[in-house]
């Protein structure tokens, strides 16, 4: 009885092994092609003004909330920070980003800070039963979408980088920021201030932390493939 494997079977097995090895090597190569930036952001204690919620100051108070109740609904201030990268080559790297939506709910913009990639179309949606008149006079993007009924989506495209401050012409206490950035490498910290920005191509970049009120000096970060770089920000 001949126990030597047939040559054809042997070649087939070898081909499979080589294929699997190639897949694994490719994965390793992929993993080794990008890095991660992690860190923590700290902001000083800051209580956003809890003005009495009155349309046009003297308007209807029905369904209004007390200043204390409004204050409780706000997310930790550190989540209103935007950490982002600047550097060559990042614009060409695509990252999947969540849909850009600016809601008006309970006479509040949600989110308060919306970072987007240049060229993104933001859907502005009124979720309240009363009118909001969303507008911006920022030089980066001036617009006025008028009074829109509940549920109507109004798309607004932002083609220039910069900061756009958004208001409601009916409810003067409402405001939000849309941060238009050059590339898709940006993130907002979690409630505990930590952040993790992954998929960053290797290289040397400038990393910044933006807040509407506080600031911190930009820092330089070097990203190495397959490794995690650590950067912290203490805003003041």
């Amino acid at each position: 009885m001949d126990c030597t494997p047939r040559p054809r079977l042997l070649r087939l097995a070898l081909a499979w092994i080589l294929f699997l090895l190639a897949m694994g090597f490719h994965s390793v190569l992929q993993a080794q092609g990008v890095g991660t930036i992690e860190g923590k952001v700290e902001v000083p204690p800051y209580s956003r003004s809890a003005a009495v919620q009155v349309p046009s100051r003297y308007g209807s108070l029905a369904s209004a909330e007390s200043p204390a109740e409004m204050q409780k609904q706000r997310a930790p201030e550190v989540t209103n920070v935007v950490v982002y990268l600047e550097g060559q080559g990042l614009e060409s790297v695509h990252r999947t980003l969540p849909p850009a939506v600016l809601d008006q709910r309970n006479a509040t913009f949600i989110p308060h800070i919306l970072p987007i990639l240049k060229g993104t179309t933001v859907k502005i949606v009124n979720r309240d039963k009363t009118y909001h008149n969303v507008f911006s006079l920022s030089s980066t993007k001036k617009f006025d979408i008028g009074r829109r009924p509940t549920g109507e989506e109004v798309p607004v495209t932002f083609d220039k980088t910069g900061t756009v401050q958004v208001f409601c012409d009916i409810h003067s206490h409402m405001s939000a920021f849309i941060i238009v950035l050059e590339n898709s490498f940006f993130i907002q910290p979690r409630a505990d201030g930590t952040f993790s920005l992954d998929g960053v191509p290797p290289g040397k970049y400038t990393i910044r932390a933006w807040h509407e009120r506080f600031s911190a000096a930009p820092q330089t970060v070097t990203v190495t493939a397959g490794q995690t770089s650590s950067i912290d920000f203490m805003l003041q």
């Binding site: 003005a51 003297y58 006079l137 008028g146």
Partner: protein, 469 residues
């Protein structure tokens, strides 16, 4: 915190002359009880005036503030307080007949004026409790910053029964009508105010109906002349408000110390409480329909009408006001319309120059006249979407007066049916622009007709910069 800060405000009413004496005592004390600094300020309030008389127990106010900062470092905040304000600067030019009563212009010269400065404070005391207050430069003496009004000061208890019941108490804005809530300069698309705020009618708060001769001396001898709603509509009382049916219906009812037209300088409740109320329906997001009503005794006690004390008092002479307001808006268009019907059940107190003094005229019945008026206000505002921040606006405002039998025996129309005041029509056009959030620049032109006859001497051209901060 290394000590305490003590702030005490004591209010004492003095009858002769009627005024409030306000003592504000501020002191900083360490935990061991050592008093670092203290200051007591003594103010006297007159109508539309808060005047410091003297400081007593003075140790220098800035030492008190410094001590407060040292003691309370790090600061422990028990009530979150926010400050905000509105500043208006105006340039106006009116005709030779321009006056405060018609166009808020005291003379016919160009006016450069800090028309108004208002400071709001809102404090969140606890869950469901907040305090609001507003100090403003007096509207009638806008060019003189010494005079301040405490226009608002109230505490609000929120959500006592969900959205259905909230209560405010203190000095509050009347719930009557819709324009009272749009009167602040950032919300008023034009510069001028409606006639019901400022047009002084032939009604005295002391003597009732003013005949032609009395009207000429109204300010000096008759306590002035009343407009339908006094000076922005701020009164002292308690207000319950809320909404039902998923905000479909909104209500606001208040008991105040006076009806709409009264200057309410007296804090004594020497007459019945006045009722102010409004119910509004929001059938759709683009529309609101409101119904308002107010009733109360409008006459103020004075020596000229003291003889009424023996005749049952002044309480039966009432101002009754009803109103309908409509708001329609969609996209870049907004229309606000308001109709107000006002009745004064007014006496006719005259002065006998032969020495008899003040007496009530021998009118039939209970000796009163029914002085009716109807006012219509329509505002249109159009935002220009191709230029964010820019809008155009227009206003039509008319005030017409009912008929009475002329009671003035020296008048050529004595015994005949006459209109008790001159009908007024006011028109305004304006342009507004927001160069930045919180800054509004307005330019407007306003012209007036009296009994449909154009009166160019009452026209006003004005520019206003309004800053909200």
């Amino acid at each position: 915190m290394f000590g305490t800060v003590d702030l005490r405000i004591q209010c004492v009413f003095r009858a002769q002359p009627p005024h409030w004496r306000v003592l504000i005592h501020l002191s900083s004390t360490t935990l061991s009880g050592f008093n670092l600094a203290h200051e007591t300020l003594n103010y006297r309030t007159m109508p539309f005036r808060l005047q410091q008389i003297q400081s007593v127990n003075r140790m220098n106010l800035h030492r008190v503030l410094l001590a407060t900062l040292l003691l309370c470092s790090p600061l422990v905040v028990h009530a979150q307080i926010s400050w905000s304000g509105i500043y208006d600067f105006e340039i106006k030019k009116g005709g030779t007949g321009s006056s405060l009563g018609w166009n808020q212009l005291p003379n016919d010269y160009i006016q450069l004026n800090v028309q108004n400065l208002q400071l709001f404070v809102d404090a969140s005391i606890d869950d469901g409790i907040s305090l609001s207050a507003k100090i403003a430069t007096n509207r009638q003496t806008a060019s003189d910053p010494r005079y301040l009004d405490l226009e608002l000061a109230n505490v609000t208890f929120w959500h006592l029964a969900g959205n259905a019941l909230n209560i405010s108490a203190g000095k509050i804005l009347t719930p009557f009508g819709a324009f009272t809530r749009r009167q602040l300069s950032p919300d008023n698309p034009l510069i001028g105010q409606p006639l019901f705020f400022y047009y002084q009618t032939n009604v005295s708060p002391q003597t009732g109906y003013l005949d032609a001769a009395a009207a000429a001396y109204a300010q000096s001898s008759y306590g002035g002349m009343l407009s339908t709603i006094y000076n922005g509509g701020y009164y002292v009382g308690a207000d319950a408000f809320g909404s039902f049916a998923n905000d479909l219906i909104e209500y606001n009812i208040a008991l105040m110390n006076s009806p709409l037209s009264s200057p309410n300088t007296s804090i004594n409740l020497d007459k019945d409480l006045a009722f102010h109320g409004r119910v509004a329906v929001h059938p759709a997001i683009w529309g609101t329909l409101g119904f308002s009503y107010c009733t109360g005794s409008f006459l103020e006690h004075n020596s000229v009408n003291s003889f009424y004390d023996a005749l049952g008092g002044l309480g039966s002479f009432k101002q009754n006001t009803a109103g309908i307001d409509v708001t329609l808006s969609y996209l870049f268009y907004e229309i606000n319309a308001e109709y107000i019907h006002n009745d004064y059940d007014a006496p006719y107190v005259v002065y006998d120059t032969s020495g008899y003094g003040w007496y009530r005229s021998g009118l039939p019945g209970n000796g009163s006249l029914t002085l009716s008026s109807d006012e219509v206000l329509v505002d249109v505002k159009i935002d220009l979407p191709f230029y964010p921040g820019l809008y155009v606006a227009g206003r039509y405002n008319t005030l017409s007066f009912g008929k009475i039998i002329d009671p003035y025996y020296l008048s050529s129309t004595y015994g005949q049916s006459i209109s008790w005041d001159d009908d007024v029509q006011k028109y305004a056009l304006g342009v507004g622009y927001k160069p930045a959030h919180g800054v509004l620049i307005k330019v407007g032109y306003e012209w007036t007709t009296i009994d449909v006859t154009p009166r160019p001497n009452l026209d006003v051209v004005a520019a206003q910069v309004s800053v909200s901060f």
